[in-house]
Amino acid sequence: MLGKKMRKNIMGGPKGTCKMLFKGIKDIIVILDKEGRIIDINSAVKKLTGFSPKEIKGHHFKELKFVNPESKGRIARYFKKRLKGLKTLPYYEIEGVAKNGRRIIAEVSATPFLRKGKIIGSLAIIRDVAKHKRVEEEIKNYQRRTESLINSSSDLIFLKDKNFRYLIANKAHEKLFNIKVEDIIGKTDFDFMPKEAAEGCRKSDAEALKSGFISREEWVGGKCFHAIKQKVVGAKGKIIGITAVIRDITERKQIEERLKKSKEFAESLIASTKDGFSILDSRGVHININEALCKMTGFSREELIGVGPPHPYWPPEEYENIQKAFKKTLRGEFKDFELIFMRKNGERFPVIVSPSWLRKEKGEVISYFATVKDITERKRIDRAKTEFVSLASHQLRTPLTNINWYSEMLLLGKAGELSNQQIKYLKEIYTANQQLIKLVNLLLNVSRIELGTLGIKPEPIDIIEIANIVLKELLPQIKNKKLKVEKNYSKKLPIINADPNIVHIVFENLLSNAVKYTPKRGRVKLLIKKQKSDVLIRVSDTGYGIPKDQQSRIFTKFFRADNIVEKEPNGTGLGLYIAKSVLEQSGGKIWFESEENKGTTFYVAIPIEEMKKKKGTKKLSI
């Protein structure tokens, strides 16, 4: 009963305090004999391991049921080495598994009992440290996470002590200062930064330390930083130092600067331009306008913003035209529109409106901008030019008449008989002069169309008669080229009300083009037939055709397709322009189909009822 004795020895003490301690303490207390067998163990073991003291008592300490084999080995070594050495023993850690499977982490410390210098046993205390362990691990994890977080940031993050020495610095420092983080710790800015930069940093650090917090932009060494610095105060108000997050915003700053400049530039441009400028929402309501638009129209900003459509500067009689352009814009057809606007005083003036989209969201245009150019002056100049053409043409006609009539008189033998060669030469003069007269007439017609002075006087006409007159005029060329001309007139053609000059010009242009631009032995077909409310003229040829990429420009003034310029250098590019202009002014229509090297077909529709009358001072020259 050595054990009992020893137990008594140990447990003895003033008034059983040890006993109470043994029972009440949360730590497991184990009393071992000198071999390491368990003599006694308190009930705390049950709570931690699930094994009762009874189940454990009598076993060797190194065979404790709840201890992992590895930890058992450690215990065994402990007993072998440490107990023999009589040293005060440090804590060591054991791991194991409780009866219910829970993981156990515990710290063990042991103290030998000595009697007369000999070990008679030992006391071990086993303390549950699982909770501590977890906290410790969590702290470590937290530190690791924090570290990786601050290192992954491209911002400079640091903690300095109150003497401005680095306690913590993140990896971002390495890139910016080309120095290892380890080499920063314990240093001040002056140790690795240029003096000027270090002074700047020190100044703001000192301020943060003094005021507690700063957040501001600082230019250091040609770069712009946004710095947030904060005083760090430890327990009991002890100043630890400052933390900071510093972001390099140089690039953002530069972009901001550039944006600011370009915004200022755009604003000054819009403000200073003479052209009107407006920003409209998707419904066409003014969101913003510039001063020039106010000046141009005479309406104030207040009268225009938030208004429309219709806008106050739309003349009522032009609503239809403007709405058309407006709808085209809303459909995404962004092109220039020539329109008539109205000033506040009622004055109408011509403008060119160039719309475009300003902002899109999910493919939908949500705002537009439009420039408005007042072209009153330009129109006036155009008019002056056209009037000049008109006047010049009249002046040209007098000498042309004389060349015409004198060569005619000579050819008629009024000045005596001419030799064949003289006749031949004179005919050349006469023909050339005829071409010149034609050209002058064309230019006059253009000037009339553009001046708006062209008058349209419908009268009952026989359309076939006019067609035949024109064909007769073209007979020499037709014969010369051995062209086959097919006429197809429907029998019941009505007498139509149309301006004979317009009809003549249209036939002349279409038929002479067909003859001119069809190679030898080709075919020209003329069809005239009645349709529902109009007469359709169709002129088709087997000619050179109009290249596809140039078809859209064929009615443009002075335009001649590339392929015919080579083959027929003589031509003004005015014929189709005039034909289209006069037809459209009189309510008719013209269109075509063409394929290069196959031929062209022109269609003209003239209303049967009556051509649109138009007051004008000039007739077409034919």
């Binding site: 009249h394 006609r397 007098t398 042309l400 008449t401 004389n402 015409n404 009539w405 004198y406 005619e408 008189m409 008629l412 009024k414 007269i437 002058v440 007439n441 006059l444 008058g455 006087k457 004008g616 001072t617 000039k618 007739k619 020259s621 034919i622």
Partner: protein
Amino acid sequence: MTEQSTKNKTILVIEDDAPTLQALVDTFTSEGFHVLKAKDGKKGLELALKEHPDLVLLDIIMPKMDGMTMLKKLREDEWGKDVQVVILTNLSSVEKTAEALKGRVYDYFVKTNWKLEDLVKRVKERLGVR
């Protein structure tokens, strides 16, 4: 209607451009007409009222007195109100044509677009001569 010879007919040509005037005078003379000429509206009017030609060929843009003013004055005259007037001009203006028609003009020709031959034909038709 029995057609008369051109020999008995007098034409007054009023035209400021000398070569044009000459061409008209020569042509109508060679056709057998008796041709009178004037280089401006004022002289033309005087001559017309004095000589009472059968037909007047009248230019519009002329110095001293233009064709339209001359025509207006001519129509104020008892004889002049019925005389045949043919406008020969290089203006092709509807307004002028209308004005000319009010002055009871029988033809309105743009010179460049007409051959002398056709002009003679039209004048002969007007006068009912061969």
